[in-house]
């Protein structure tokens, strides 16, 4: 992914902690706060070491007051600081929506550019071990709706570090959406400071037959699907959007003009969501495949229901490598009723996760 030197295998959470630590050392206007950021569990380790290094003025826990704390972040950012506000679940961002959307997203515009709000909101999407209705929501589409906000969703440690740094340096509110099942996934990460550009998608694997756009954890599942498909002689191009708003429609558009087929797999509900946005954009641009025909499209995501707790229902709530591959197979073979399904595969991050959180 990168030409930078001094790469080490790091977990995503360690990469996040490193990014914060290096940025806090570089710029003393950066501070990090939120519930439980300074306890011994350190948000799965993603804030580990910061308290020892920077002291309680620059990393501190808060009362349980998400709405007000978001307002505090907005105000501090207005005054030139660069707050990082951490939520251990994305569901709790719902308590912060007023400050985030009515103040954070709008201040720069409303005050005609006199004020900037350079803040970062980190939040984790939960899944498995009975997270259930209120600890599993992925609300990126709601946030993407709002002008003034940026939303990114790293799926590996390299992007996590680079996006964290880019988000801290960005002069707007940036929401970093992490996934609980990817917290401990390892990738090579440079020691140096580097930015991953907000607004740039990444092609994870090249292919000619179909484009699969996988968001957050669904990027991982889409890679699994591509592997299954390869065995059937189908070459899938998997794209990780990385940044959801701004969304890199150019990379997606170029890919679908090559493959003629697009399957969007969102880590969220479909209704009024990212998938709808992507497909609308493809349609509006009138993009065609190599045969000159309009791009063939489909989408998958969370089942259109509330997330249940019990595993046997939860398994049907989420797309997975097999169901994604099956859908792509139908599209590529132009057999909408084909029943091919790959064999059971391994999903270590799901099978090994024992929660509780």
């Amino acid at each position: 992914m990168s030409m930078l030197s001094n790469q080490r295998l790091l977990r995503t959470v360690d990469a996040l902690a490193e990014a914060c630590s290096q940025e806090m050392a570089r710029d003393d206007s950066v501070f990090l706060f939120g519930l439980d950021v300074d306890d011994h569990k350190a948000i799965q380790g993603s804030t580990a070491g910061l308290l020892e290094k920077f002291g309680p003025d620059r990393i501190f826990g808060t009362p349980l007051s998400e709405d007000a704390m978001t307002g505090v972040a907005v105000g501090a950012a207005m005054a030139g600081m660069r707050p990082i506000h951490v939520h251990i679940r994305m569901d709790f961002v719902l308590l912060a929506m007023n400050q985030l959307i009515n103040m954070g997203a709008k201040a720069h515009y409303m005050y005609n550019g006199q004020i900037q709000v350079p803040m970062v909101v980190r939040c984790t999407i939960g899944r498995s071990w009975g997270q259930g209705a209120q600890h599993s929501q992925a609300l990126h589409s709601m946030l993407m709706h709002v002008p003034g906000l940026k939303v990114v969703a790293p799926t590996n440690a390299y992007d996590a570090k680079g996006l964290m740094i880019a988000a801290i340096r960005d002069n707007n509110p940036v929401i970093i959406m992490e996934h609980r099942l990817l917290c401990n996934a390892e990738a090579y990460v440079p020691e140096d400071l580097y930015e991953v550009e907000i607004g740039k998608a990444r092609i994870m694997s090249q292919g000619d037959d179909i484009t699969i756009l996988g968001v957050s954890h669904m990027a991982i599942e889409s890679m699994r699907a591509a592997k299954f498909l390869k065995e059937e002689g189908i070459s899938a191009e998997v794209i990780d959007p990385v940044s959801l708003r701004p969304l890199d429609m150019e990379t997606i558009g170029n890919s679908v003009q090559k493959t003629g087929k697009l399957l969007v797999v969102d880590n969220g509900w479909l209704n009024c969501g990212l998938s709808a946005e992507v497909l609308a954009s493809i349609a509006e641009q009138g993009l065609t495949g190599p045969d000159g025909q309009p791009v063939q499209v489909a989408r998958m995501g969370f089942a259109d229901t509330t997330c249940p707790t019990v595993r046997c229902l939860e398994d049907h709530f989420y797309p997975n490598g097999r169901t994604i591959a099956a859908k792509a197979y139908q599209m590529v073979k132009a057999q909408p009723t084909a029943t091919w399904l790959p064999p059971e595969g391994v999903q270590p991050e799901i099978q090994e996760f024992k929660g509780p959180f």
Partner: protein, 318 residues
């Protein structure tokens, strides 16, 4: 209820909660319960005392740490265990798990995993019950359970203001274990909960002793006041969580713990205290019954079926 009856009834409830949760601790490594569990071991006295003066048709509203009050309010033990197993026979058909136990017919309004969210919901239910009483002449009451951490959420302050303004039939119960996950109260609150609530002028109680009888008397006094139409009341009950915030383990060695506190509270264990008051014979009799109930709930849960795939889509809309 005579004093001996009260001792027996409080003991039975507390012991049942304790044994039910100890059973969960024992079962957890089997991975049959794939759900976060927030245990109340050490806090049983609060649930027993709070539910004692409530009628079946009174309402309790819970947090994710809801096992104790679910049992104390009379929730069906089999359906509760089945819910923890994610079975179709569970009190929410396996959709809720440990954090959202519910049983409307026992007056258990459900539980939320988002801290503080149930407090205004409980007040809304109380608003309806105030209305209902105008027609029936019978005032049912709502008991809103919440932790010390909840009182930091804006909706707590907003709700008590509204409840006082509208004289709602609600008892606010703050179960103060002085911790929010690993964060001690003095690092979260600028002044005491008592000082913050006092200016609203509600009848108030504050039990710091850990004594289940004192809790019982105070809760009874305040519940009666609410039932008599005097508007809301507030009680803070101090207690201590013996195990980790979530999960089956003890975390005595974790840096946030104060071993002296834990020791003090364990020496003040109300389950052991009441067992002693009852004597070995009576205790053995109750314990045997409790073991049967717990064992039966496990058998019921194990033998029940998981929900079918169709259940994924039921009840999205009414």
């Amino acid at each position: 209820m005579t004093q001996p009856e009260l001792v027996q009834s409080l003991y039975q409830t507390m012991h049942l909660v304790r044994r039910f949760e100890e059973k969960l601790v024992e079962l957890y490594p089997s991975d049959k319960i794939k759900s976060p569990i927030h245990l109340s071991i050490g806090q049983e006295a609060v649930a027993a005392a709070v539910c004692a003066p409530l009628n079946q048709d009174d309402i309790i509203s819970n947090t994710y740490r809801c096992h104790a009050t679910h049992i104390a309010k009379g929730g069906n033990l089999n359906a509760m265990m089945a819910e923890l197993y994610g079975k179709a026979t569970g009190c929410a058909g396996g959709k809720a798990g440990s954090m959202h136990l519910v049983e409307i017919e026992s007056g258990i309004l459900g539980a939320s995993a988002v801290v503080g969210t149930t407090i205004p919901v409980a007040a809304g239910y109380a608003l309806a019950l105030k209305n209902e009483a105008k027609k029936t002449g019978e005032q049912r009451v709502v008991t809103a359970m919440f932790g010390d951490g909840s009182t930091e959420e804006g909706c707590f302050a907003e709700t008590i203001n509204f409840a006082v303004l509208h004289k709602l039939p609600i008892l606010f119960v703050c179960e103060n274990n002085e911790m929010a996950i690993h964060n001690p109260i003095e690092r979260r609150q600028a002044i005491s909960i008592q000082e913050r609530v006092k200016p609203y002028g509600m009848p108030m109680g504050h039990v710091t002793s850990g004594d289940v009888f004192e809790m019982h008397d105070e809760v009874t006094r305040l519940t009666e006041s609410v039932r008599a139409g005097n508007g809301p009341a507030f009680i803070e009950i101090e207690t201590h969580r013996w195990l980790e915030h979530v999960g089956p383990n003890n975390d005595d060695d974790a840096p946030y713990r104060n071993p002296a506190d834990l020791k003090k509270w364990k020496e003040n264990d109300q389950v052991a205290r009441l067992a002693e008051m009852l004597g070995t014979e009576k205790t053995a009799e109750i314990n045997a019954h409790v073991e049967e109930l717990v064992a039966e709930s496990v058998t019921f849960a194990e033998q029940s079926a998981f929900p079918t795939k169709e259940e994924l889509y039921t009840h999205v809309y009414a």
